[in-house]
């Protein structure tokens, strides 16, 4: 391992440990906080083969990080909506990155080639990357797929939570949590509902 990579890995582990400790009471990154620099600069392999970090995709209006995956039925139910929101708001100045932190040894569907196929079949215009140590997910305090973290243009966490209030029936959604938060951030406002929760699969962290 190169020295720079080692330093970066140690920094992530240190931050992850600190967040994990704080996460017992806060559930991860707190609203109003920024992604720790070492985490934001972590390079992750995109489905197009390029290495990307959260810093690389940061948008002028804000940045959306969604922890998701291929195998989870919850993530699959919301997948098309996540992709549509990503594609739509990327064009409105939001930097978007979808992150798969699952260990593919737990679910082969979460392998890199399977991610490439999914990105193609879903028409993803935004990056879908591999968190190959699960270190980024740990540092965020993410525990569920899907789980969204939306940062405003100053890099502060403005929204954290799920996509909307009806996973199974998109036509019966009454609260579009993430879309409303994206609209607020694009408009330079604070989301009216900054934190939500939804049932989801546990992230299958790499050991």
């Amino acid at each position: 391992m190169k020295l720079a990579s080692m330093v970066s890995a140690i920094a992530i582990l240190t931050v992850a440990a600190a967040v994990a400790t704080a996460g017992e009471s806060t559930g991860g990154l707190a609203l109003g906080t920024k992604v720790p620099a070492a985490v934001a600069k972590t390079k992750m392999k995109n489905v197009d083969g390029k290495m990307l970090s959260i810093t690389d995709v940061t948008g002028k209006a804000g940045t959306l990080v969604v922890f998701t995956c291929n195998h989870c039925p919850f993530a699959k139910d919301w997948e098309q909506r996540i992709v549509e929101l990503g594609n739509t708001y990327a064009a409105k100045g939001i930097g978007v990155i979808l992150v798969n932190a699952n260990d593919p040894k737990m679910h082969a569907d979460d392998g890199y080639e399977e991610m490439q196929a999914r990105a193609k079949s879903r028409g993803m215009k935004v990056p879908y990357v591999v968190d190959d140590t699960s270190g980024v997910a740990r540092a965020f305090g993410a525990s569920v797929t899907p789980e969204a973290f939306l940062f405003d243009k100053s890099g502060k966490l403005a929204y954290h939570g799920t996509i909307d209030d009806n996973r199974q029936e998109p036509d019966k959604v009454t609260a579009r949590y993430l879309k409303d938060a994206l609209d607020a951030v694009v408009a330079g406002k604070k989301p009216a509902v900054p934190e939500t929760k939804g049932l989801g699969c546990s992230i299958k962290f790499r050991s």
Partner: protein, 162 residues
């Protein structure tokens, strides 16, 4: 004679088959009513799904613990996050384990459901919660649970309430 043999085989098979498990599709009020219904000394609540591997791995321990302690007043309430169409599969999985308690497929708002069980829970499956006989929550396991985990915490609650 062959007909009688076939009948005998069918009767034996029916006798060996697990009893059908009733699975209700329910929203939060009905689920909480089942958790807080009088008559139990302790109530374990497990949220799971048929496709969730860690959920399926821990389920035999949960059901075995329930069977070993139900005479002491333990109730086990199983809540599936499966879609309604999976109702027969939910019943099949629980029936194969010999479960005979209240089983639900959860419908309705996730946030209200999650916060009712534990505001610190973020919604990841599996999750298990322990309530006392008065409906007060005593313990959450956010992740997998084992027979020994349950024995350490639930048995004490049952013993104190004897």
């Amino acid at each position: 004679m062959p007909m009688m043999s076939a009948l005998l085989v069918a009767l034996l098979a029916a006798d060996a088959a697990p009893p059908p498990v009733r699975v209700d599709v329910a929203e939060l009020p009905a689920i909480m009513a089942a958790i807080k219904a009088p008559g139990a000394q302790a109530v374990l609540v497990n949220v799971w799904a048929t496709w969730c591997e860690p959920c399926r791995e821990e389920m035999p321990d949960l059901v075995r613990f329930y069977r070993d302690h139900r005479a002491q007043g333990l109730r086990l309430v199983l809540i599936s996050a499966d879609d309604d169409e999976q109702r027969s599969e939910v019943a099949r999985v629980l029936g194969a384990l010999g479960f005979d308690g209240p089983a639900f497929i959860k419908r309705g708002n996730d946030m209200a459901f999650i916060d009712a069980l534990d505001p610190k829970w973020k919604g990841a499956l599996p999750a298990t919660f322990m309530f006392d006989g008065r409906g007060a929550k005593k313990k959450s396991w956010l992740g997998s649970v084992t027979y020994d985990d349950l024995r350490r915490r639930v048995s004490g609650l049952l013993a104190r309430r004897k």
